[in-house]
Point group: C2
Chain length 225, copies 2
DNA sequence: AAAGAAATATGACCAAAATCATAAATCTTC
DNA sequence: GAAGATTTATGATTTTGGTCATATTTCTTT
């Protein structure tokens, strides 16, 4: 099992602010875990006794609504931490986390990470910064949900996925989502998401190979109202 | 002008974790300000060089959407701090703040509050906790926006206002909002908000006296789908 | 108190999106 | 590789909510 103090992943999250000693201590008690695509990392309402540091892969965070639909609130990717929010407020998880592809994560027990939070000011300030940025992002999503059409939101999601998570060798989006996932990000019925994706295809804004989607006309997608 | 170290308001926000010395230092450089109902406290995109501590009153935080509508994202009330998020990420404000009634606020310059954040671990941890709770709340709003009908969201808002901000002597909601404000919280057209409020009245779920709204049948409002 | 402005209310109509139904394609599993 | 399950696709219909138009009421200002 790798050592935290030598792990490059920490560069991408708040753990970069920890000292070598702190990292060595964490390294001693962390556990590595492989997660298969589709596997639940934690459930909504579950007590998460620590945080996950994502070494590889990507997962979705979602919440079940009263109408039985799962709303995807955020995607968390390689390099980021998962579960800090619940840790900080000392509550059970508000969201469910599901792997969107095979993943490798390290689990750091609550006590260890809390010790650093409560002793290392640099660390807690960095976590605070990440959380403040997440909050701005969430506020922006609220505005989009409330004020934009489904068509516009779906166009935005495609652009976001390309910008944030990149493309494969053939230009298709590297994050592979089902049509239902798209619907659950945008907050619409699966049929509506499928329909709009079909429209985008007819308008030559995108092309599809099975589940894979490739943006063909980024400027055009941006122009969608 | 009052002294921070003697001010009772600090009990309700992260400033309760500051020492007497820290409070005295802040007290020296803070400025008090009265704000009239409807007045803009800060604009979206404005550089806010500090935080506001709300001594009295309530304000709305909103963001202008591309379609020209203002989406209300959050209400901030007496006892809470305003503007920490932008301070922490060192960005201009993402939201506009407008007073919903006459207010009294204290403005604490950025340098002062940052000094405490960077020196007092208790303080930064408390700010972190507040931010984590705000983030959970924002995630929940996203789910509601995406999955619930306008009617249901409006019912929820009325219940939320009663629970969070209380009622006047006659039982009307103490926060006085225009129909447009209701529309901008729920994310709908003003006419739609007015229409649904009229329906609620016909169904005896609420009663109105001019702008004032009184919940008559809380259980019934909760049952709205 | 009257005039004008702004907010609230309501009707008519239209557009967006949900639901229901069914077909076609793709993926699993034996 | 066939059978069944799941996912994607598309049509028909209904519902929700937005837009435009126009009263009516309430609030300001003189």
């Amino acid at each position: 099992m790798g050592k935290c103090e030598q792990c490059i992943i920490k560069q991408f999250n708040s753990m970069k602010t920890l000292s070598k000693d702190e990292l060595m201590r964490i390294s001693e008690c962390k556990t590595s875990r492989k997660i298969k695509k589709g596997e639940v990392i934690f459930e909504e309402g579950e007590v998460i006794n620590g945080v996950y540091c994502i070494k590889n892969g990507i997962c979705k965070l979602s919440k079940l609504s009263e109408n039985g639909k799962d709303q995807i609130v955020k995607m968390v990717v390689k390099g980021q931490l998962l579960g800090q929010r619940s840790l900080i407020t000392d509550e059970c998880s508000n969201l469910q986390a599901v792997a969107l592809c095979d993943m490798e994560v390290c689990f750091i027990p609550k006590n260890e990470i809390m010790a650093d939070l409560e002793n290392n000011l640099k660390f807690s300030l960095d976590v605070l910064k990440v959380m403040a940025r997440d909050l701005r992002e969430s506020d922006n999503i609220i505005v989009n949900m409330a004020q934009k059409t489904v068509r516009k939101r779906l166009a935005d999601v495609l652009i976001y996925l390309q910008n944030s998570f990149g493309v494969n060798a053939d230009g298709t989006l590297s994050v592979l989502l089902s049509r239902e996932d798209y619907a659950n990000i945008v907050g619409t019925a699966t049929e509506s998401a499928i329909r709009i994706i079909s429209q985008f295809k007819k308008e030559n804004l995108i092309s599809t190979k099975g589940k894979y989607i490739k943006i063909e006309d980024l400027a055009g997608l941006k122009r969608v109202e």
